[in-house]
């Protein structure tokens, strides 16, 4: 087991353990401990975690607060427990990814590692291509485009995206073939 896999195992055991804790105080202490241990990256990771769950948890919390108020049920305890638990779990996930190389941690599962490698590569291709298209579209439209223009552009972009992505993945697959990745 390599270092990344050890961290992954520890992370998995910790997140399971956290779901058996039902006291907000313990979860807050766990979050404090994780923040201390995360070192200089703590505030960046915490900000990312809060942003990742903000919309989600606010919508659920507001819906529950409304229902609980209507039914005269306790609100604060439930929301504190739920939000602290979610924040701690998301923070730990981001901290893990910040600490280790994900593909190294997946090395024990060749099929999963291969799919993840290809998907991560493709995501980068998509992002680059979308940026190119967006900038090109903007430069060709000094005035606001009509909905028809937008639709036509989206169709062309979709087709190009698939072709470019396939070409890129094809190159990766050929490289993998030349290195024996598909040899039985």
């Amino acid at each position: 087991m390599n270092r990344a896999q050890s961290w992954l195992l520890l992370y998995l055991l910790t997140v399971v353990g956290i779901t058996f804790v039902h006291q907000a105080g313990w979860l807050a202490a766990g979050l404090g401990l994780a923040l201390l241990a995360a070192g200089p990256a703590r505030w960046r990771l915490l900000t990312r975690a809060v942003l990742a769950l903000l919309l989600f948890n606010v919508s659920v919390s507001l819906a529950y607060a409304l229902v609980a108020w209507w039914q005269a049920r306790p609100v604060a305890d439930v929301l504190l427990l739920m939000n602290l638990r979610v924040l701690l779990l998301v923070f730990l996930g981001f901290w893990l990814v910040d600490r280790i190389k994900l593909l190294e941690a997946l090395a024990g599962w060749p099929l999963l590692a291969m799919i993840a490698t290809l998907a991560i590569g493709q995501v980068a291709v998509y992002r680059r291509l979308l940026d190119d298209f967006r900038l090109a579209f903007r430069s060709r439209n000094p005035v606001s485009p009509t909905p028809v223009d937008l639709l036509r552009h989206a169709g062309a972009q979709g087709g190009a995206l698939l072709d470019k992505s396939l070409h890129s993945a094809d190159q990766v697959a050929q490289a993998m073939r030349s290195r024996g990745a598909f040899d039985a």
Binding site: L62, L81, A116, V123, A173
Partner: protein
């Protein structure tokens, strides 16, 4: 529409992980022989598409998010087993890189979206094959999304019943099915139209390229 970390009780996610483990073993059996330099680029491309679709999400008060999945197109082109595995990879990446979904919820999400979504898509396409390819593919995408959404809503909705304190206070997700089902399903009726259109678009592209037979 994946469920985030911290909303599901261990009574739900631990058995789901066990079941998903069995399903992953089934899906992965003999797969290495199928993967070659022709199939892998197509799989990578559409897996990345599913990944991208999953990130354009709208949070729903029902405890999940609304977005297209891309599972149907994976299932229709590559089959249920490969679609399930590929989508599980997507869920893992989204959970770890973006905090969308989560590790504890991965088993539930993979089963509800990846496996059930793929199975329903393939079954519906076969069922409506007589209606023509475009209609069958569109219905497959639309219905598979609704079934997955319903499953996710029900799993969230049972949390206050199966995981609560003695006084009835919920320990995990606090809203019941009377809220989660409409809150999750209604937006997905609209999203399903987009999913169907996208699936037909990609399906036609795949047919033009000769990846799938008519």
């Amino acid at each position: 529409m994946h469920i985030p970390d911290g909303f599901l009780s261990p009574q739900t996610y631990l058995p789901a992980w066990g079941l998903a483990g069995v399903a992953w073993a089934w899906a992965g059996r003999g797969l290495a022989r199928r993967l070659d330099e022709t199939l892998v680029p197509r799989l990578a491309m559409l897996t990345a598409l599913a990944y991208a679709l999953g990130l354009v999400m709208l949070p729903l008060p029902g405890g999940t998010s609304g977005h297209a999945l891309g599972v149907a197109v994976l299932a229709l082109i590559f089959g249920v087993r490969l679609a399930f595995l590929a989508y599980s990879g997507v869920l893992l990446l989204q959970a770890l890189l973006f905090g969308a979904g989560g590790i504890t919820a991965l088993g539930v999400n993979a089963l509800a979206l990846g496996l059930v979504g793929a199975l329903v898509a393939v079954a519906v396409r076969r069922l409506f094959a007589v209606a023509g390819d475009t209609v069958a593919v569109a219905l497959a995408a639309f219905i598979s999304l609704q079934v997955s959404a319903l499953l996710v809503a029900l799993l969230l909705g049972i949390q206050p019943t199966i995981a609560r304190r003695e006084d009835g206070t919920p320990l995990f997700f606090p809203l019941g099915p009377e809220i989660t089902v409409p809150a999750v399903l209604l937006p997905h009726l609209l999203i399903g139209i987009g999913e169907a259109a996208l699936t037909v678009f990609v399906w036609r592209h795949a047919r033009r390229k000769g990846w799938v037979s008519a």
